[in-house]
Symmetry: C2
Subunit: 207 residues, 2 copies
């Protein structure tokens, strides 16, 4: 059974005007004036975000690759799956492959796409694309300047217990855990592609 | 087995300076200068958010209460669990009870807390507290001015299929689905409190 986002009542808001609210070195926010379904006007302030990717990388022994990273807005070290922002015009899978390698050193021989999450729908247009990776080959990581993070591996059941117990509270990582649990149980299958197939597809697409 | 956020290397960033970046009618952002673990300086831009709650309300027939709401930053109608921001100083459970009633009309006779999610750890201090509610009693909803949303119910399995198929991409709702699935299967038990117990506890706390 499918849930539909279509609605009987008109819920849609229409843009009347759009202004820059702030353009920082990282945050870019707009303030739009919108017409509400009842015809009245309201303001909507929101962030423009380039989009991001996240990778659930599975080792040959069935563990998942995780990171510890200090997250300044929360003032604490968080446990997360590897993730990163899209460069301008970058394909999400290419970004996932780049970020996994840069942050953890791993390259993978097989990849699967597992959906996406909108993490702050009230005030950001960010989307995070989720990929799974396996057939890992370890290498040297290449962190950006000013990037500090620790890489470790853990059994999926330990990660899920940490979500249940409130030790892992990062929303993207929790979303990935829903996929991880249902993929491992066989309920949510993934379509895997080898690195060779992906390279051939990319070559065709850009020919 | 528990995952620890403690780290061997120092990952912590220390505040050197903090400035207002923007104070809109909704968005409030700061730009801090921080000292990184290697001693160098960097800037961190992030939103200050009052925190929020979300409610998984279960009907007597075992369906979940959902909403359709237009989310302007994404330009589309999203399917979500009822949720809302904390008022200043508001207790999260009291907020959950208020938001469920205002947005859906339902009051509940039993409540359980099920953890929390940090939905934008790179650029916001937002936390969303998750509650489950049952023993629903229907009533009149009381939407805020300028708030337009549709309420409907669906079987949990339909909601989970919609997450799997990419029709439900709201991160907080996906996190709640992880809890919903594991509560229904008996893997992640909840501690339920009756409205009478909660009222007695509140009376004691404020006495």
């Amino acid at each position: 059974m499918a849930l539909s986002a279509a609605s009987s009542t008109d819920l849609v808001e229409h843009k009347v005007d759009s202004k820059e609210l702030v353009r920082g070195s990282f945050l870019h926010a707009k303030r739009d004036t919108v017409r509400l379904p009842d015809g009245s006007l309201a303001q909507r302030e929101y962030l423009l975000h380039p989009g991001a990717v996240m990778v659930v990388a599975i080792t040959d022994s069935g563990q998942v690759v995780l990171e510890r990273q200090f997250r300044y807005p929360l003032g604490r070290v968080m446990i997360e799956f590897p993730a990163g922002k899209l460069d301008a015009g970058e394909d999400p899978l290419a970004c996932a492959q780049r970020e996994l390698h840069e942050e953890t050193g791993y390259r993978a021989t097989a990849w699967a796409r597992a959906g996406a999450t909108h993490n702050a729908i009230a005030y950001s247009n960010e989307i995070i694309h989720l990929y799974f990776a396996k057939g890992l080959v370890a290498g040297e990581r290449q962190l950006d300047a000013g990037e500090f993070l620790e890489v470790f591996t853990a059994p999926p059941e330990a990660l899920l217990a940490a979500v249940r117990d409130g030790q892992v509270t990062d929303a993207k990582t929790q979303f990935a855990c829903l996929w991880l649990q249902n993929w491992l149980s066989g309920q949510w299958p993934l379509q895997w592609y080898s690195q060779a197939e992906l390279s051939a597809a990319t070559a065709t697409a850009t020919a």
